[in-house]
Amino acid sequence: MLQILGQNILNALQLGSVYALIALGYTMVYGILTLINFAHGDIFMVGAYLSLAAAAFLLGLHLGLPAVVVFVGAMCFSMVLTALLGVTIERLAYRPLRQAPRVSAVITALGVGLFLENFTLGLLGPEPRHFPTLISVGAWEIAGLTITPLQILIILGAAVLMVLLDLLVGHTLLGMAMRAISYNRQIVPLMGVPVDRVISLTFAIGSAIAAAGGLMYGLAYPVLDPYMGVRIGWWAFIAAVVGGIGNIRGAMLGGFILGAVEIFTPMILPSSTYRDFVAFSLLLLLLVFKPTGLLGRPIFERV
């Protein structure tokens, strides 16, 4: 029993890492623009497909490249291109609406997300694609738990990215500019902060992290389809809200909570198909009773 529990906690950590990586993108954009970037889940989907393309290309060369090279190559390729995609979306779709009512921007975000899904669907067709196996080293048995190198890679990789991001936001000039914009967008340009550039960089970083999450998700659950970003994106979004949207450490915490919800739902309820029900009920209850999430600050409306 204890072993099953331990194994599930490990699985929850693995899944939670992916959710946390995507939740970071939601929370960064919300923190800086107070915009719910509903397209973020689909940016993650594009990132996963780009890693698939890069990995398949590198393996297709038949050079006998070591798995690490393929992994790093795919990661760099998809992170750079997905960052470009994020910046492009911000430039074309969100920037013209920065002064518009917030609802317009949210609807636009929904539209952009659907556009990415349906565009991918049109381009690649509805058949799911299979992610190549990069790391096929067998599992280790430690204290009765089965641990795969892939699990270690995902959990550690995600942790490194999260620590780097936390350092970036807390201890660099760029991070300071981000926090300043989030604090007061009207005054900050007067202090000489290049607001547009900082916002573009925020989108680039958020999208790149989502692409890394896409690669890790593809390695762990190797079936990709154009609508995968909807479910994963929503779960990551709930994670961001649970942790307190706009709060980076909250997003990490929320990611792990949602990972646990997904893994432990079938242990308590009759089937894993109840997981959406559980997650969205959690979201609804949280919004009614504690709308700011676990680590968020309270919001006051100025009249």
Binding site: T273, L284, L287, V288
Partner: protein
Amino acid sequence: MVISEKRKKLLTWLGAVLLLVLSWLLPASGLLNPYVVQILMYLGINMILTLSLNLVNGYMGEFSVGHAGFMGIGAYAASIITVWFLPRAWAFWTFPAVLVAGGLAAAVAGLVVAFPSFRTRGDYLAIVTLAFNMIVKSVLENLEVVGGPRGFLGMPRLTNLFWVAAWVLITVMVLRRLVYSNFGRGITAIREDEVAANLTGVDTRRVKLYAFLVSAFFAGVAGGLFAHLLQFINPRSFSILKSTDMLVMVYLGGVGSLTGSLLGATIFTLLMEVLRPLGLWRWVVGPLLLVLLMIFRPQGIMGFKEWKWFKERAVSSEQ
């Protein structure tokens, strides 16, 4: 030309009766090809959905993105009543009551969204409505008695052009009376400034509650019509994608406008039909349209404007 109020009223009723007679005769006479009749029925259903969503999103300025959830509840409730509780022989005569029952079921579900709307606004309410949509879909998928993810079938094809036309007329009339009533001014006041509305004596909670109930009711009726037209429903028909289609129709036609809702539903339905040869690429058009609309004309074609026939009566000509 100025039409007197009396003549306008008479002409409106004549037009409504004429529309109903035509919607009965044309398909029966075989003059219209069944494909066209089919599209007209979908168009009518879309009109009802767009009108009902516009009440919340356009007139009240709230942001509901889970409207397909109400439609789904109406569709399932109406179908279950038809298939499980009513003898086949009666089905034809009880159909209007079944639709109303479906609408009422959706309205009850509307409470789930209306109560959080007292406390949260804007994007947080959007999340609530979305979560509601997802929960409805997830519950339907897990209810094995109604077929789970495989869907529910066995309804006779009771929806015809007459019933669709009748419900479009009812929706337009009810909403027109509603938005120009004292109550309707409360709805618009909430859109302009909720705090100010509250201070000037609008019972914002009551207004929001009723607006959500009415909106959900008509979405439920549209769901019932949809279910008895298609004769097969499954939870995927009522996903967030359906909700987004409704948003496109509302924001295309124009927010806060009955004419706009009818126009938006017409343009979108016909466009999707015309684009059918594009196959999968057809689904790119709706989202793209939505994004372009938000950037270049966020209020839509007829935003806050009304065709003169739908405008409220001028008070001076009444006395």
